[in-house]
């Protein structure tokens, strides 16, 4: 206590009484002012404000932002935006909704137009909450509705941006599509979604949606009783989404799509020097433009029920036995483990005996005595049965993993599958059965339990082509703000090293060249005049019992018994700058069907390069460390 005098007990109650009186008076005064204000608003201004409330004069409207563009590596726009015209109806008191709808239909009939929407009025119409009557109507209907606005109270046309997929189905499996945000997404609180927002549903559109989406704007408008805007009261402009620059070369993409020519399957072109995907097609595909205005039920059903499943991206989620393309891995393992030398010869008489079972070579009467080089060139099965049996399945699996099999590659897309590299432990855990030696024999030629995705195959061969580095396949080069400045850059990413000796690499490299360019090579169909392609064919048998009803139904169709055709290659031999995988489902032999497709893609690539050199190759390719030529 600083104060010395003990008598000081604070102010006297009388003083408090005085001050409290003032407080009460001030409070009364303040409350009276508030009460007068309340009176002013509720009694004096009542008429005017009641009018405004009934007209619901002021209304918030969100303005959808433009989604970012998606471009290929050369700056060619692949996905753009276009305006879409929707017919909306603002329900108002005293208007017969059904009658109004009939009036619109009648109006359309005068111009022989159909009212397209099957989505009629929702069961409960809330006044002042607009109903979207028709989406994406053509200009004829827009003109009709606008000119007859007086007869159609509450009906108006709204312009919203929708996606324009310029390359349609050729690139749909990568780009994906957009649609209205789902209830599940709305429930996620961390995402700033409102009902009716457009969001990416699949592919790049979905994965990069936070960048592409942009930011919503708002607009405050004064509307009359019929929902027609009378006055703009203010707006916050939307912010356009960021643009995405892909590693894809749109021209090559189209060439790859055309090369596949109606077959079910996929083709991928990748730059082995840094993992950039130049083209990635999956067929059959779908037209993403159909999803813009909400897919009609029957169209959706058609896509869903199509046994060939156009909505899946086979390049990353299709899993196939790799067939003879897998011999590369077995050969690498055998050389590295010292089981064979390049000169070791094995005699092939057309079949390989194990116990009481005989495993056939694809060539009925055998290849005779072959070394590793010839065994790869002619794809001799017996050679690899023998070597594979000596290696054992677990050693093969170890090398397969070095090449990137059995794990996802880490590409920017969702739904990537990781394939299957069988081992003894895997089988024991999965099937509660011990491993059989005969299964090792099947695995040696890429059959049996083996499963790989096309992307894994092209990644593995790319690693061989560039001297042993496994790059993460990448689809996205960078993200740019709509102004053009770089927002985020995606750099090449090392996933692993093959750790093979230079001798082994050289032997395999030469053998793959031989497959395409030597007499008797199975990949001759991919040969180009300058003899610079290295590759490997594969034909994977469609075996095993169907697992489900869908597959059982398919079994009835003979076509589904045919083999899958595979071909993996890279070029030019001296300094590879493109690697390609082609998988054609139920199409026949790899050499006969897949290799020619790969050649077409290669031709398109080198042709484009020749043309591009004079224009802008130096600008568009970022300095990638190792330049091709």
């Amino acid at each position: 206590m600083e104060k010395q005098c003990g008598l000081r007990n604070g102010p006297e109650p009388a003083e408090f009484r005085q001050r409290l009186k003032i407080v009460v008076i001030l409070t009364l005064l303040a409350l009276s002012i508030l009460l007068i204000r309340l009176w002013y608003l509720q009694v004096i201004k009542w008429d005017e404000l009641k009018q405004r409330s009934e007209n619901n004069a002021v209304r918030f409207r969100k303005i959808q932002p433009l989604r970012g563009l998606i471009m290929d590596r050369n700056g060619t726009v692949v996905v753009d935006n276009r305006p879409s015209f929707d017919v909306l109806y603002m329900p108002t008191k005293g208007v017969n909704h059904e009658l109004l709808l009939q009036r619109i239909k009648d109006l359309y009939k005068t111009k022989t137009l159909e009212f397209s929407s099957d989505q009629l009025f929702p069961k409960t119409i809330k006044p002042y909450l607009p109903v979207r009557l028709e989406k994406n109507v053509d200009m004829e209907k827009v003109a009709l509705v606008e000119t007859n606005a007086l007869d159609l109270p509450g009906v108006y046309v709204e312009v919203t941006p929708v996606r324009l997929y310029l390359d349609g189905e050729t690139i749909a499996s990568i780009i994906g599509y957009t649609g209205e945000v789902s209830k599940e997404d709305l429930a996620k609180s961390e995402e700033d979604y409102l009902s009716g927002d457009i969001t990416g549903k699949y592919g790049i559109e979905k994965v990069l949606d936070p960048y592409i989406r942009g930011r919503r704007g708002n607009e405050l408008v004064e509307v009359n009783a019929f929902g027609k805007v009378i006055k703009d009261l203010g707006r916050i402009d939307p912010v356009s989404g960021s643009n995405v620059v892909l590693t894809i070369d749109a021209r090559l993409q189209k060439a790859a799509w055309e090369a596949l020519a109606g077959l079910a399957g996929s083709a991928i072109a990748m730059d082995p020097r840094d993992g950039s995907i130049l083209a990635m097609v999956s067929a059959p595909s779908f037209d993403p433009n159909l999803f813009n205005s909400g897919l009609a039920r029957d169209e959706w059903d058609k896509l869903q029920k199509n046994p060939l499943n156009p909505l899946s991206n086979r390049a990353i989620s299709g899993q196939y036995p790799p067939g003879s393309t897998y011999k590369l891995i077995v050969a690498a393992a055998a050389l590295e483990e010292g089981i064979i030398t390049p000169d070791t010869k094995i005699f092939c008489n057309g079949s390989f005996e194990l116990g009481n079972r005989s495993y056939r070579c694809w060539k009925k009467h055998g290849h005779g005595s072959v070394n590793l080089h010839r065994a790869l060139v002619e794809s001799c099965d017996v050679y690899f049965y023998t070597v594979g049996k000596m290696l054992g399945v677990d050693v093969i699996a170890r090398y397969a993993r070095l090449f990137g099999f059995g794990e996802t590659t880490g590409i920017e897309l969702a739904h990537e599958r990781k394939g299957l590299v069988p081992t003894r432990d895997w089988k024991r855990a999965r099937m509660k059965e011990p491993w059989q030696l005969g299964e090792t024999v099947s695995v040696s030629i890429g059959q049996g339990f083996n499963l790989t995705t096309p992307l894994q195959l092209v990644q593995a061969y790319s690693a061989l082509a560039n001297g042993g580095t496994r790059w993460r396949p990448r689809l996205v080069q960078r993200i740019e703000l709509s102004g053009g400045s770089i927002q985020k850059e995606y750099l090449p990413e090392k996933k692993g090293e093959l750790k093979l000796s230079p001798q082994t690499l050289a032997v395999l490299h030469r053998a793959l060249w031989g497959v395409v360019n030597e007499p008797g090579g199975t990949g001759a169909a991919a040969r180009r005049p300058d003899a610079d392609v290295c590759g490997k064919t594969g034909t994977s048998q469609v075996i095993g019992l169907p697992q489900n009803e869908k597959a059982r139904r398919l079994k009835k169709i003979a076509a589904f018994h045919k083999d899958h055709a595979l071909f993996v290659c890279y070029a030019p031999m001296k300094s590879p700058e493109i690697a390609i995988v082609v998988v054609a489902e139920n199409a026949g032999g790899g050499g006969a069907v897949a290799a020619p497709i790969a050649r077409k893609i290669l031709n398109a690539y080198f042709e484009g390069k020749k043309q591009g050199k004079t224009t802008q190759v130096a600008v568009t390719f970022p300095p990638a460390g190792s330049t091709g030529d």
Partner: protein, 371 residues
């Protein structure tokens, strides 16, 4: 010592008037929140149920605080103050963020807002300080340096969240207490002058949206989209209610969600739209009765401590009512101050009911204490 000792007189002299008033206002609050949530989707837990649960919890707290003699609470005043400051620091470091503000501590299933607690804590702390430093003379500026620090520390922490409204409320309530117990006229003039001089500097520290709000208050129609939207919609809702109101659950501005923040800061617009001028008048009279009753408790308290506590709590309620209504009626800038007992918000209602417990505490013990 009479702490916690049962005394027959506590029940005999229980302040039923205060209790009844508060319960009536809370009931109006529940009915009103029921109306705002009326058109919400079904899968959401209705807000009025949640508010009811909070009120139950608040009543529990109220009873406990009521039973502990406020002199015992006074003994712990600085501990309570320290805990409140600590929780504000915790919020600043690890707080839960929503709508761009970091204001909450998350206990998993509930969010607790320490700044609400601080509104009451500062009253308890100041009461302790001035009770310890009694003076017959009006306080001089230099004698008020410590209380000044006690107020500014939480204010800075709360401004950082950012929560301008709560910080202002703490300053206003504290200033009211100081003025009430007496401050030297010259000192008052110096403070007023320096605050006016500081205003331009304070302006620089405001966030953009806070500046917007203050500016749009001056002319709401200039920015009808941003801050002005709240005020315009609120005035339309209130005005369209008319003298008798549109009726329970019939407020079109409310039911169509044109009215933003309708469960929290703008809850009075909902009430005025549906119950009209008459309803507004009744509610204002109830608040007035509560305020006058609180002041009466302050007057009749047998010691300075009780007087300051009762006055501080009453001032807190009065200022919130006046500022919130002024804001909702378009007479003051939108600063985010809830309407006591009516606005939805767990931390706010629980601390308020706790404060009412303290007020009853002072009220009942005037019959027990000897001056």
């Amino acid at each position: 010592m009479i702490f916690l000792k049962y005394d027959r007189r506590i029940l005999q002299n229980f302040d039923w008037t205060l209790f009844a008033l508060v319960m009536c206002i809370c009931a109006i609050g529940i009915i009103n929140i029921y109306s705002t949530g009326f058109s919400l989707s079904d899968d959401q837990a209705p807000l009025y149920i949640k508010q009811l649960q909070w009120i139950m919890f608040g009543l529990f707290l109220m009873v406990i605080i009521f039973l502990i003699d406020y002199h015992a609470i006074n003994q712990a005043a600085y501990i309570i103050y320290a805990i409140s400051i600590a929780s504000l620091v915790f919020v600043a470091l690890f707080g839960h963020t929503a709508n761009g503000a970091q204001r909450w501590i998350s206990f998993g299933f509930i969010l607790f807002q320490p700044s609400e607690l601080m509104k009451v804590t500062i009253i308890i702390a100041l009461a302790r300080y001035f009770d310890d430093h009694k003076s017959n003379e009006p306080y001089l500026l230099r004698e008020l340096f410590v209380p000044f620090l006690m107020v500014m520390v939480p204010c800075v922490l709360i401004l950082k969240q950012p929560d301008l409204g709560t910080a202002l409320m703490i300053i206003i309530v504290s200033a009211s207490i100081v003025l009430f117990i007496g401050m030297n006229w010259k000192s008052i003039l110096i403070v007023v002058a320096s605050v006016l001089a500081m205003l331009p500097i304070a302006w620089l520290f405001l966030k953009d949206y806070q500046k917007d709000r203050l500016l749009t208050f001056l002319s709401p129609e200039s920015d009808p989209l941003g801050a002005g939207y709240h005020i315009i919609q609120s005035m339309i809702a209130i005005g369209s209610g008319g003298f008798l109101g549109k009726g329970f659950l019939k407020g079109s501005q409310t039911q169509l969600k044109f009215l933003p923040e309708q469960q929290t800061d703008f809850v009075f617009s909902v009430f005025a739209e549906e119950w009209g001028f008459l309803g507004g008048l009744v509610l204002m009279l109830m608040f007035l009765s509560l305020i006058i009753w609180g002041l009466k408790i302050a007057l009749h308290s047998k010691d300075l401590l009780g007087t300051i506590l009762a006055f501080g709590i009453t001032a807190l309620i009065a200022w919130q009512v006046l500022i919130n209504m002024g804001m909702v009626l378009g007479m003051m800038p939108v600063v985010g101050i809830p309407l006591p007992f009516l606005s939805y918000g767990g931390s706010a209602i629980v601390t308020l009911l706790g404060a009412i417990g303290l007020l009853m505490n002072v009220s009942v013990r005037r019959f027990i204490l000897q001056r």
